[in-house]
């Protein structure tokens, strides 16, 4: 899994039906603490907010983690939020 910081959101009203209800977060990727590119991740935790440091899973596992029985077409999902006091 890769690490990043949540910096924003993306809103799409026209989208694949299985994306309904999934929050799309803009995440700044962090590599060894260095800020890298922005990416879009589905919020599997449903609780991520701006400023949170998160870890994300990619590929098909991203879709399965959102919904195993009806996976949406997402290739990156926020799996968890790092407890801030442990950073």
């Amino acid at each position: 899994m890769i690490i990043g910081r949540v910096v924003g959101t993306v809103v799409c009203s026209v989208k694949t039906q299985t994306l309904e209800g999934l929050k799309l977060m803009v995440v700044r990727r962090l590599v060894n603490g260095q800020e890298k590119e922005l990416m879009i991740a589905g919020d599997g935790t449903r609780q991520a907010g701006i400023g949170d440091t998160v870890y994300m899973i990619g590929r098909l596992e991203a879709a399965l983690q959102i919904d195993m029985s009806n996976p949406p077409p997402v290739d990156l999902t926020i799996s968890g939020i790092v407890d801030p006091e442990t950073l």
């Binding site: 910096v7 924003g8 959101t9 993306v10 809103v11 799409c12 009203s13 026209v14 989208k15 694949t16 039906q17 299985t18 994306l19 799309l24 803009v26 590119e37 922005l38 990416m39 879009i40 991740a41 589905g42 701006i50 990619g58 590929r59 098909l60 991203a62 879709a63 996976p71 949406p72 077409p73 997402v74 290739d75 990156l76």
Partner: protein, 103 residues
């Protein structure tokens, strides 16, 4: 997922049968920091009715096959949403409705 702008269409008659019926679009990646085009254009599959000029969100790999239109289809990326807004750190970096007005 990443953003891209739709810039064109592709016609291919002789192709894998399993690609039949899919709409192939040419897109150019959009860098979310600058909201400018950055990187090499590529061909992707539309699942949402995207049109030329629109900013779209796309997914890659096997995730791109998790839509009604692309299930079981040999695609490596697909357009999964038409972007209305991108907000980063309290700044609205993209607004489809303002962009529509401007054009």
């Amino acid at each position: 997922m990443q953003l891209a702008r739709v810039i064109g269409t592709v016609v291919s008659t002789r192709k894998s049968e399993r690609l039949n019926g899919l709409k192939l679009l040419v897109v150019v990646p959009i860098d979310m920091d600058s909201m400018q085009e950055k990187g090499a254009p590529f061909v992707t599959v539309d699942t949402v009715g995207a049109g030329e000029g629109e900013i779209v969100m796309w997914a890659g790999g096997s995730s791109s096959r998790q839509t009604e239109l692309t299930t079981g289809k040999p695609v490596d990326s697909s357009i999964i949403g038409i972007v209305d807004y991108v907000d980063v750190l309290g700044v609205r970096k993209f607004d489809k409705f303002k962009a529509d007005e401007a054009t």
